[in-house]
Symmetry: C2
Subunit: 444 residues, 2 copies
Amino acid sequence: MTATSPRIIAVDTFDVRFPTSRELDGSDAMNPDPDYSAAYVVLRTDAGDGLDGHGFTFTIGRGNDVQVAAIGALRLHVLGRSVQELCADPGSLSRALIGDSQLRWLGPEKGVMHMAIGAVVNAVWDLAAKRAGKPLWQLLGHADPEWLVSQVDFRYIGDVLSPAEALTLLREGRQGLANREATLLESGYPAYTTSPGWLGYSDDKLTRLAKQAVADGFTQIKLKVGADLDDDIRRLRTARAAVGDGIRIAIDANQRWNVDEAIDWTTALAEFDPYWIEEPTSPDDILGHAAIRQAVAPVKVATGEHVQNRVMFKQLLQAGAIDVLQIDAARVGGVNENIAILLLAAKFGVPVCPHAGGVGLCELVQHLSMFDYLALSGTTENRVIEYVDHLHQHFIAPVVIREGHYTAPLTPGFSATMRQESLAEYRYPDGTFWVADRAGEDAR
Amino acid sequence: MTATSPRIIAVDTFDVRFPTSRELDGSDAMNPDPDYSAAYVVLRTDAGDGLDGHGFTFTIGRGNDVQVAAIGALRLHVLGRSVQELCADPGSLSRALIGDSQLRWLGPEKGVMHMAIGAVVNAVWDLAAKRAGKPLWQLLGHADPEWLVSQVDFRYIGDVLSPAEALTLLREGRQGLANREATLLESGYPAYTTSPGWLGYSDDKLTRLAKQAVADGFTQIKLKVGADLDDDIRRLRTARAAVGDGIRIAIDANQRWNVDEAIDWTTALAEFDPYWIEEPTSPDDILGHAAIRQAVAPVKVATGEHVQNRVMFKQLLQAGAIDVLQIDAARVGGVNENIAILLLAAKFGVPVCPHAGGVGLCELVQHLSMFDYLALSGTTENRVIEYVDHLHQHFIAPVVIREGHYTAPLTPGFSATMRQESLAEYRYPDGTFWVADRAGEDAR
């Protein structure tokens, strides 16, 4: 290849679905039977260096095809772009995608279309980090604060965070970076585990997995709640007995309740000292979360995995509605918007404890928390990244958990690259797994 | 046909696009070149009575295919359903669609997937009204209050509006219904017109159309603003000179501004006595709208056409963020959710002035305002439905405007049915218009 100015020559999309519903992995009060899926995108270039940009939206099954179609609708903005320019300024693409006035009508900046933007923007960051030869957390952590500010869209958040304030936060955030980088490389970033707590699990399985979590070095676990109060009381008692008093137990209602129910139910579980109540109600209900937080303190209120964009996070912070902010790497408009959200959290001094699990969300979001530690908040105090032990084997560079910590990934990129074999097996509906599955059904 | 229990046997979808961008009709500060489009759905039955249910999502061009795909993803919930049961209880389908846990992940209740739900739910209401032999406004207006309450999903709004309160509002709302129905049938429902005010129009065209609007009996017009302040000052002065002091002039920024800009810009236009400022900032920014409202009074603050669901409207009302609530018939989850929103507005005493225009939005939303007048708020004081004089010719029963009022439609249904010829001409990309258009481009 002799291309002097390489271009994006293909935007390939894949509908990838894993049959997780068959094991009740991932079952909660709102999502009884998820089939963890990815609307997956690969940006291919003619650079001849073998480097592609990978990104995806996580979904839980049906509708993954709609999500793939939405990514496809962005193709015209990406094809033919200069790879060098894109990687030097992913924000330019982010602005072009968010600013497409016709596509904007389908949001704006929310739901299917916005998640599609996130997948494509994240794929650009994956490519940029691969070309830079760094894991994304390091690319971001080492980046010039002025440049990071240039990557943020201040529209609709400028009343609370100005570019000048953001610059100050990032400049101050760098102080002591070298020491923190050494710590990160040695000890990793704290994690908590949701693996014991799915609703579909028996009490015995809950006890066994909760004890295992403590033995594995986790200091926090999480239980799904919200389907049945008596069950929740029994399960929370079981979990507390299994882990003892020194371990934090977060609970997660996955939006099951109205405001009043959230207050009553959380109060009824308070004797087991839950650390936070996560998604007590609609992610859209800023004022509702504020009311719940007032009522259930000292239990903390956490949300974010379904919060659609920086405008909603801004208000959750303005309204004093949350104690814990849970970014998701693949829900909002990608890395650029997540930098904005991390800056907002830093300004308000609210700890960020990312949502993860699903397909590849752990792989992605670790980079954002590590950047935050390295060059923005500068602390891991009361900060933990969710960890769920599913589906990591499908990634080229899966997360590595050691002593309850995410070890810092060293592979260049955003850890988003799925194995070719996994794409071939689980592509829907024509991957080898699904073809065999249908053949088996026909045979029955 | 002898089917004793007719079923839904087909859910047909159409990607319909009109080349409106070529005339600058519909141009505003955020949407310079919209191609008004509909992701259109027809529910066909085996009842043998020739009645289909029609519904659609309005979009502005690119991405209409994604919206069609989202409607297609709902097909499994609709096919095979009993027509009688569906029409007797559209809320059962609404709950099934919103409650599909896998599809819910793509929102929840927002963006592409939620608008698709709205299109399908509205199609059921169209079918129900056709089968009842009534226009939808009359079907709703004559309906039993208990049944109307059963059609509302109180999840996430129960803290502000209980079923019992809703029932009281609807029972009280019926008092004097017969007189109001007579008034409606005689005089119609007040309208305002946006036709003079598109950004792409010259001052001469603005003056001519504004004077025409007054001559046609409108008492309110609307101007798009937000692209350039000096232009807006000149255009607003031009419009005020054209219509005089007795006519209300609303202004509409289409989300162009941050909170601070919205305050400054609106203040700079205050000398021309704008009646309301519409969409001053992000539709997601509840607290931002509240701050703007505080600052720009007595100019009123209006929003809603991009507000994603009842949870957001609930908070806009709780926060005292709006003076005028602008429902849209095809943005939220359909008639059921709009009943919830009308109930919330009635509880807070905030007037509803629907968004319309686009493709078929006038046709749909008139039914909701007329129901509100007939059986809920009981007044048209300070209430007007937007009117834009585009694309009505494509509908079987287009709106009829007389003396600045929407005349009450008498054709059974939701006025959603597009003409077959229009579908054949503007279906994208294979309709006759688009085929000829591409041929013309090739020839150039």
